[in-house]
Structures are given as structure tokens and as C-alpha cells.
């Protein structure tokens, strides 16, 4: 009995030694709001006139007694309009439009990590950190970005242009590693959300510099030898026209 207990103690000690519990990093920000000069409920917030039309259009997609279904598209629109993040007054405004209590909107905005509740850069760079990308070197990609921009994760550069965050799988594993650039530089009209795939630490820095110059680097795979998600150097299989499916002769039935 004593031997087992001491063995268990040893195991626990070992577990602690192996896992340095520095800090658990969560991709999401704080789950509560702290008043600040640029983010407090007293600040006025309105949709722009152009976006008011869009709001009407979005709400028209849902039955009039289920207005609250529009919460995610409206929050997204508000985020695009407000330079990539949602101040608490914008959430309150959305709550007013869809006629629910503000807390019901806060619940949604805190749940989805793509809603930013703190300031982000005009170009918000999101590095995929999920297993396939991680195996293909997403850590190095992130390190390269952070080092180049001189910021920490979720921190905005001094000029307000860039911020780097982490995202979970964006469905681009075949072209791993990848980053996403959310472009809030020209409001909700010019908003883009582009994938840059097959990136290397060198290439991401080039992309950042191109963005800084105001260029729009081509999205998609950054490997010149690939077309979309096809294999490097051209197709190796499925070279001819695929055969028509058998037994789908509808006239025969």
C-alpha cells in the first residue's frame, strides 16, 4: 500500500516536472468587459447608412418573430464596420436591433473566437495552429510573423496596421501551413478574408510587407509549383476525362 502511494507520488511529481505550467494560452480574450475610453457602453454606436440597408436585408432573411437569428451576421457586419473588433456599444446596438437583452448578444460574441472584442490591426493575421498545420511548421510561421512585426500574440503594432492571432482549423489542411488575412483597412465594403496557403516563414514576411505597401498579394497557395490544392508539379493521377458513372442511366428506369 505504502509502496503504491509513494509510486503515485513519484508519478505526480514527474508529471509536474515534465509539463512546465507556465500559462495556459486561450485563443479567446477575457470573458468580461472592462471599461476603457474607447470601449464602454456610453459611447454612441450606429451602423452607417449603407450598412443600415444591409441590416434590413439581413433581417429580411429571417421570420419577423425570429429576429434574433440575425445576431451572427449583424455582429459580423458591425465588426467589419468598426475596424475588425466589437466594442460593447456595438453589441448593445445589435441587441436593440434584434430586440433581445444585451447579454444574449454578449453570449454569442464571447462564444465565437472570430468576433474580436479587443482592438485588432487593420490587417488581422490569423495563423492556423491545428495539427496538420502545426506538423508543417505553423509555429515557425507564427514566430516569424511576431518577430518581424515586433509584437506578441493578439497585440497590435504601433502603427495600428497588423495584429497576429491564432485560429483553429480553417479547412485548408491539404495546403498546410496557412494563414488568413482579415482585411479591415477599407471598412465593410472592401472587407476581404483571404487564405494564404503553403506559406513559409520567408513568404509570410513578404506578404506582410506587400500589405504594408498597400498591395494585394495573390491569395491561395503560395507555392508556385501548385495549382490550388493540386499536387506539386501537376496532376499524377486522374489525367484523362473521368468515366461517366455506371448504372445512372435515368432513361432506362
Amino acid at each position: 500500500m505504502l509502496a503504491r502511494a509513494s509510486q503515485r507520488l513519484l508519478q505526480i511529481r514527474q508529471a509536474f516536472r515534465q509539463l512546465p505550467q507556465a500559462s495556459r494560452s486561450f485563443s479567446t480574450a477575457l470573458n468580461y468587459h472592462i471599461d476603457s475610453p474607447d470601449n464602454n457602453p456610453d459611447l454612441p454606436w450606429e451602423f452607417t447608412d449603407a450598412n443600415k440597408e444591409k441590416v434590413k436585408e439581413i433581417i429580411s432573411h429571417y421570420p419577423s418573430n425570429y429576429k434574433q437569428s440575425a445576431v451572427i451576421p449583424l455582429l459580423d457586419l458591425a465588426q467589419q464596420q468598426h475596424g475588425g473588433w466589437l466594442p460593447v456599444s456595438a453589441m448593445d446596438h445589435v441587441a436593440k436591433i434584434i430586440e433581445v437583452a444585451p447579454i444574449r448578444v454578449y453570449e454569442v460574441a464571447t462564444f465565437y473566437s472570430m468576433f474580436n472584442r479587443t482592438k485588432v490591426g487593420k490587417y488581422h493575421l490569423l495563423v492556423c495552429g491545428t495539427t496538420p498545420c502545426m506538423i508543417r511548421g505553423s509555429r515557425e510561421i507564427e514566430d516569424a510573423l511576431l518577430k518581424h512585426l515586433g509584437v506578441k500574440r493578439n497585440e497590435v503594432t504601433k502603427d495600428g496596421l497588423f495584429s497576429v492571432g491564432e485560429m483553429e482549423c480553417m479547412g485548408c489542411c491539404v495546403n498546410a501551413p496557412m494563414i488568413t488575412v482579415a482585411d479591415y483597412s477599407s471598412g465593410s465594403e472592401g472587407y476581404t478574408y483571404n487564405y494564404y496557403e503553403d506559406v513559409t516563414p520567408k513568404r509570410v514576411v513578404e506578404i506582410v510587407e506587400a500589405l504594408r505597401r498597400g498591395e494585394k498579394p495573390p491569395r491561395g497557395t503560395q507555392n508556385p509549383k501548385r495549382i490550388n490544392s493540386g499536387p506539386e508539379g501537376g496532376n499524377t493521377t486522374l489525367l484523362g476525362e473521368p468515366k461517366a458513372p455506371p448504372c445512372r442511366d435515368l432513361d432506362a428506369c
Binding site: 479567446t28 470573458n31 460593447v88 433581445v100 444585451p102 447579454i103 453570449e107
Partner: protein, 745 residues
């Protein structure tokens, strides 16, 4: 740890479980069975139950109600057949069958969340364990609650729940009455495999009543559902996701509900606990006394938890007809007022204007001497808001014997109409309000006047979309309502059918009209009543099968006082009084008293009443005496002494009995049963304790006709500050904090 070791441990545990099983069943079988209680039909159909399966009783005496007998289905719980109505969940079926399923998120009175997974059971032909709280029972379902699979599932869920739960039971106020503690003892493992650090969560500030230790939270969302469904304040929410998930308000916000204290009871762990009760006592040190609340006219059923001579806390008691299982914050937290500003000794005001403590003998002698020096019509008695029926009976008998009939209860106004009981009680009954489909609130703000009645109205509005029309000053409601107007002219419009709300009222099947007791103080009270009765007649609100004409009283003493006929002879009696007996009456306007009037204040708190008093007679509070109270629906209930009284105080009726002896007009009863048999002659309904006695005749048909029209003055608020309405709540520090922080200005 090696794989082999794990396997051997698992094996060990399963054999242990198997070994303990027969013992467990044996215990359960010892329960006495009363089959007719739970499934009489099933018993009738199956005259011969399976011989090897002894009957079980439903958990906590749960009853099955079949709205439609054809909809009954039969399921099997651990082999026992039970008949249940269609639409019940598996968990409810198990409860009927006498199996208590462990649960955290499920609560009878809240919507189903199904997120704690503690209620997993095995259902035959189902590939996985089933969350019984969210699964509807289907005919012929074979539910197994005691199988290794169900046990393993519970143990696994419990291990996950405890992963992030701190091990601070020794410093947790929920310790001893914690669902997580109890269920981990019953269903959990003796060890966990989690070696990482536990998460920690920032505590929230929900106000002066609810203390939060959010690290203990297990995210059952009961409080979120309670706040949005029952209390009607959409403040709490579930923020974040995954392991970062937490309960909160996001923006800094206090929980401004009059029912917020109930989240303390529904929280299955120690995340939400009582702030005033924090670190004061352990629940096993407390003596529970089942009593009733007297801070409003609802008469909520409460349990007074005391330690020695001190009331430590007040918690609700289940009563489906009155307060269900909730109580208002005033009921729950005013108890610290019982320890402050108490009157300990009989006192006489000396020539220098200061009070001097004297003996009972001296105090009573002085009062008896003075009362004989004034003329009988100059004697006035006022019963306070918190008076019980016994003391009001004794006071009335005593003053009648002295030749005066100027006695009333404060709040009932200068000329109360006590002739017809239906004219001052809630005829629909509180639980009957659930059947109403249109409400008309006349000069009453139920949210501050009677929070539990308001909760019932809200429940009805939520369940059936009942319409609510309100006539009175602008007020705070936590359900949809139409503000029809502020004064009696709106009522006249309604009575004459000129108001748009009339169509809603006349189309209603069961309209409920609620008149606030605040209008008792108005001069045109009879005219208003006759207008409201005209509305009731127009919309057919009073029928043999439905009486929708209600009065919502404000104070605990009001109904019993009117039952006992505490009606003053003249409404100007206070201006000519020479001797006034205030029995706990603090809100009576004593400024109008002549300067040479002699004021006796008998009560338990040094409140407004004592400023003008010449003699103080200390009485016991409702937690210290046995007394009968009738609530606003006319249900008589009794308080039970929970703690000894303070100092030299005595029960109210005993003081009056002693005074009558000293004054030479002894009352003919010496005991509580004696005084109750006297009450039985005057108002027999007050002796039918815990039974609501409906009023026999409707006042609408017997009242004399009123010729004059109501005047134009708009209705006023009857209760300004929900948290401070009587002498005990005004003495309470917690209530003072609440009214400073939470009352809406």
C-alpha cells in the same frame, strides 16, 4: 501508471460494485410501499404485480397527474412498470417509479438544458447512455438506472465535473448542503486522474445579497435560466466557450431582481451563496423551524434556521399554492433586522422626555390608570402591519370592554369594508391566477407589493401569453403589459366599454382583475370599487366556476384584521383621541394626535411609533411567537416560535391580557387555545390553518349601490421602497444596503 495496473484497478472497482449491489437493493426494498399513491390505475389494471418486485414509492411523494387518461403510456424502470402521461421525460418517469436520478442542471421549474450529463441512464436498445432529463419517455421503454453502464457513466461525468472544481469544501458555505458533494459521495470515484492545474475564474459582483465564487461553478446554467425565466431579468449569461466558459454579466451589473436570492438555493454547488450568511454557520448546526413570512401579504412559507437565540438565515419551504419554492429577497434577507433596535424592557417617558426602563407591573399600572381617566370614545387602538390574529382579537376585546370601538389595522384605511370577505381577499387564489388569460391591474404594482404574486403572474404570462393591462402610476414590470392609464377615469372608460383594452377583457375566458390595497386609503374607494365591479360584471369575471375579482393586500395583518372586524367607528377618531394604543403600528399618522394624548406603543422595534410614545411595552417578533396570519388569498397560516424572545418582551396577546387584568376588565381567556376559540366565534376561517377558505358570496352582488363618481386623482404607488416596508425591514442593515444599491430611482 502502467496499463496493467489500470486494468486491475478497473477490475477491482467493478467487482466492488457488483459486491455492493445486493446490499444497495436491500436498502431500497425496505421502503414502505403505498402503490395507490402513485399508480392507482396501473395497480388496478395489473391486479397481480410481479411477485418478486416489491413496490416502490415515488421520490418525495411525487404525484402523477393525467390530463388525459388516454395519453397514459407504460414504461419500465428497472423492471418496474409505471404508467405516466405522454410527454414526460425519462427522468420524471424514474421519479414516479421511485428512483432518484442524480442531476445538476435539471430543475423542475426551469427549462431543460441537458448539459451536465449527470442523469445518464441506460435504455434498452439504445447504443449509448441517455441523458434522462432531456429524453422523452416512449411507450414500452425499458430504463435501467442501476446497471454497471449507468454507474460508470455517472462516475465518468463526476470525474469531469470535479476536474476543475476546487477542493475548498472546508471553506465553502455550501458544504453540507452541496449537491456536488453529496453526489460525488454517492456516485463518484475515490480518485481522479487529472493532474494539471485547475482553471480559475474571476468572481462577479452581483450585489449585496449573492456572493459569488465562480471557480466553483460547474456551468449547470440553472441561475441563467432562473434569471431569465422566473425572475425576468436578462442579466446573467453563459460567456465564452470550452474550458474558458463562465457565468457572468459581461458588463459590470448588479442583479436587480426582487427574487435574486433564489439563485442561492438553486445553485447546486457553492458558486452562488448568501453574502450576509457567509461564514456565519454550518447548515448542520442550525435548527430549522417551519414558519411563515409576514413582510408582505403573501404569507410565503419559510424555514427559519436558527442557532441558539439567533436567526441565522431564512430559506423557502415548498408550497405549491402560495410561493412554490421561491421567496422574495425581502423575506430571505430581512432577518438581521430582528437583532437590531429591539425593545427589551417596558419603558415610561419621564418628565425630561427620556425613556426609563421600568418593571412590567409599573408600566401596566400606568397604562391602566390613564385609560380609566379618558372617556371611552377617546380611546383608539391601532394594530400594526405585523400583528397576528390572536393579538388583534385581544386588543379589540379589551378596547370594546373599555367602551371604545375605535380600532383598526393600519393599511386598511379610514373606513374599511369588512362586511364581505370577497371584497378584500384574492378570490382567484394565488395559484388560480395561472388559469387567467387576461389581467387587469388596478392601482397595484405587484412586483413591489407582493413579489410572489408577481412571479405567478409572470409565469402565467410566459406560459399562455396572457395579456396584462395596468392602471396606475408608471411602474416597473418584468413582463409585457399595456399601461392603460394612471387614474380612475381609465376605469370608467373600461366600465363603459370605450377603451381599446375592453375587447381583450371581454374576449377573455378567465379575466382576473386585481385591485391594489393602496386604494383603501382613498376617499373615493367605494366609487372605485363599484366601477371595478361594473367592469367585472361586463366581462363576466365573477361566475360560479371562476371568481376573477381580487384585492391584493399589502400587509400580513390586513386580511385577519378585516376578518375579525377591526373597523373604526369614525374616520376622524385619531384627531380627538386622548389615549391611543399602537400595537406595532408605525405607519399611522400620529401628527394629527392632540398634544395631550397618551400614546402606548406595544411592539418589538424602536421604529417610528416610539417617537411619540409615552409608554413602551416590548413585544416579541413573529419569529418568537405562535400566531395566526391570513394571507391575501384568505389562507390562514401560523408562525412557530423559532428563537427565544429578547429581554423582557412578551407575546402581544399576553400583554393585552395582563393589561386587562390590571385595568379591572379581565378578558375571558388565558391560553392560546382559549383565545383561538374566541376567534372561532368571530372568524372561523382563521382556525382552518393551511387551508384556503374561499369567500362564499361575491361582493359584486351584495354591496350597496354607490352614487358618487370616483374623482380624477391618479393612483399612487402603495410601496415606495420594496426593501423597507415595516419596522423589521427598516431596522435591517442588509435591506438598507439593498435599497441603496438596487432600488430603481
Amino acid at each position: 501508471m502502467g496499463l496493467g495496473q489500470l486494468a486491475s484497478r478497473a477490475l477491482l472497482r467493478s467487482t466492488r460494485l457488483a459486491a455492493s449491489k445486493p446490499h444497495h437493493l436491500l436498502l431500497r426494498r425496505a421502503v414502505v410501499s403505498t402503490p395507490e399513491l402513485h399508480n392507482s390505475e396501473a395497480a388496478a389494471v395489473e391486479a397481480q404485480p410481479e411477485p418478486d418486485l416489491p413496490k416502490r414509492t415515488p421520490v418525495a411523494g411525487a404525484r402523477v397527474h393525467f390530463p388525459n387518461p388516454d395519453d397514459a403510456i407504460e414504461v419500465f424502470v428497472d423492471g418496474y412498470p409505471v404508467k405516466i402521461p405522454k410527454g414526460m421525460t425519462v427522468l420524471q418517469a424514474c421519479v414516479i417509479a421511485g428512483v432518484d436520478i442524480p442531476r445538476f442542471c435539471y430543475h423542475d421549474r426551469l427549462s431543460i438544458a441537458g448539459n451536465c450529463r449527470m442523469c445518464l441512464v441506460e435504455v434498452e436498445k439504445s447504443p449509448k447512455p441517455v441523458a434522462s432529463c432531456a429524453m422523452p419517455a416512449l411507450p414500452g421503454m425499458k430504463i435501467k438506472t442501476d446497471t454497471p453502464l449507468a454507474k460508470k457513466a455517472r462516475e465518468g461525468v463526476m470525474e469531469f465535473l470535479l476536474m476543475n472544481h476546487p477542493l475548498d469544501c472546508p471553506i465553502c458555505d455550501q458544504g453540507g448542503e452541496c449537491d456536488l458533494q453529496d453526489q460525488s459521495m454517492a456516485f463518484g470515484s475515490d480518485r481522479g486522474r487529472f493532474t494539471e492545474t485547475k482553471r480559475s475564474v474571476v468572481d462577479k459582483n452581483l450585489g449585496p445579497l449573492v456572493k459569488t465564487v465562480m471557480t466553483r461553478c460547474i456551468q449547470c446554467t440553472r441561475c441563467v435560466r432562473f434569471a431569465s425565466e422566473i425572475a425576468g431579468v436578462q442579466d446573467l449569461g453563459m460567456l465564452g466557450r470550452g474550458s474558458g466558459e463562465e457565468i457572468g454579466t459581461y458588463v459590470e451589473k448588479l442583479m436587480t431582481s426582487e427574487l435574486s436570492g433564489n439563485v442561492i438555493d438553486i445553485c447546486p454547488v457553492g458558486a452562488l451563496t448568501s453574502k450576509p450568511f457567509a461564514f456565519k454557520a454550518r447548515n448542520w448546526e442550525l435548527k430549522g423551524t417551519e414558519s411563515i413570512d409576514v413582510t408582505d401579504a403573501v404569507g410565503s412559507n419559510i424555514r427559519i434556521d436558527s442557532r441558539g437565540p439567533e436567526v441565522m438565515r431564512i430559506v423557502p419551504r415548498l408550497n405549491e399554492d402560495i410561493n412554490e419554492e421561491w421567496i422574495s429577497d425581502k423575506t430571505r434577507f430581512f432577518y438581521d433586522g430582528l437583532k437590531r433596535q429591539r425593545l427589551n424592557d417596558p419603558m415610561i417617558r419621564g418628565a425630561d422626555g427620556r425613556f426609563k426602563a421600568v418593571s412590567w407591573r409599573d408600566a401596566l399600572a400606568v397604562v391602566a390608570e390613564v385609560i380609566h381617566q379618558v372617556r371611552p370614545q377617546e380611546i383608539v387602538g391601532v394594530a400594526g402591519k405585523l400583528s397576528d390574529a390572536e393579538s388583534m382579537m385581544a386588543l379589540k376585546d379589551f378596547l370594546n370592554k373599555m367602551g371604545s370601538n375605535n380600532i383598526w389595522c393600519e393599511g386598511n384605511g379610514p373606513s374599511p369594508n369588512a362586511d364581505l370577505r370577497s371584497g378584500y381577499i384574492m378570490n382567484t387564489s394565488i395559484s388560480g391566477l395561472e388559469k387567467a388569460d387576461v389581467f387587469l391591474l388596478v392601482g397595484t404594482q405587484p412586483r413591489v407589493e407582493a413579489a410572489m404574486v408577481n412571479a405567478r403572474i409572470r409565469k402565467t404570462v410566459r406560459a399562455t401569453n396572457a395579456k396584462v393591462g395596468y392602471v396606475g402610476p408608471s411602474a416597473d414590470f418584468n413582463y409585457d403589459h399595456e399601461h392603460l392609464g394612471t387614474g380612475p377615469e381609465t376605469l370608467t372608460e373600461l366600465a363603459e366599454g370605450r377603451h381599446p383594452f375592453c375587447s381583450a377583457l371581454s374576449n377573455a375566458k378567465n379575466p382576473a382583475i386585481i385591485i391594489g390595497a393602496g386604494i383603501f386609503g382613498r376617499k373615493d374607494k367605494d366609487a372605485i370599487f363599484s366601477v371595478v365591479e361594473a367592469i367585472a360584471k361586463n366581462v363576466n369575471a365573477v361566475r360560479p366556476d371562476w371568481n376573477g375579482l381580487n384585492v391584493l393586500l399589502l400587509n400580513a395583518a390586513q386580511a385577519a384584521a378585516l376578518d375579525l372586524g377591526l373597523v373604526p367607528e369614525s374616520d376622524k377618531s385619531i384627531e380627538s383621541a386622548k389615549f391611543i394604543y399602537l400595537m406595532g403600528a408605525d405607519d399611522e399618522n400620529v401628527d394629527k394626535l392632540p398634544d395631550d394624548a397618551f400614546v402606548v406603543y406595544q411592539g418589538h422595534h424602536g421604529d417610528r411609533g416610539v417617537y411619540r410614545a409615552n409608554v413602551i411595552l416590548p413585544a416579541s417578533a413573529f419569529t418568537e411567537k405562535e400566531g395566526t396570519y391570513a394571507n391575501t388569498e384568505g389562507c390562514a397560516q401560523t408562525t412557530v416560535p423559532a428563537v427565544p424572545t429578547v429581554g423582557d418582551a412578551r407575546d402581544d396577546w399576553k400583554i393585552i391580557r395582563a393589561l386587562s387584568e390590571v385595568a379591572g376588565v379581565p378578558l375571558p381567556y388565558n391560553t392560546l387555545s382559549g383565545i383561538r376559540s374566541r376567534i372561532g366565534i368571530v372568524a372561523p376561517n382563521l382556525l382552518h390553518v393551511d387551508e384556503r377558505e374561499p369567500a362564499a358570496f361575491s361582493s359584486a352582488f351584495l354591496r350597496p349601490e354607490v352614487k358618487d363618481k370616483p374623482d380624477k386623482t391618479p393612483f399612487e404607488r402603495a410601496v415606495d421602497n420594496f426593501y423597507m416596508t415595516d419596522s423589521i425591514t427598516r431596522a435591517s442593515k442588509i435591506m438598507a444596503q439593498c435599497s441603496a444599491l438596487l432600488s430603481k430611482k
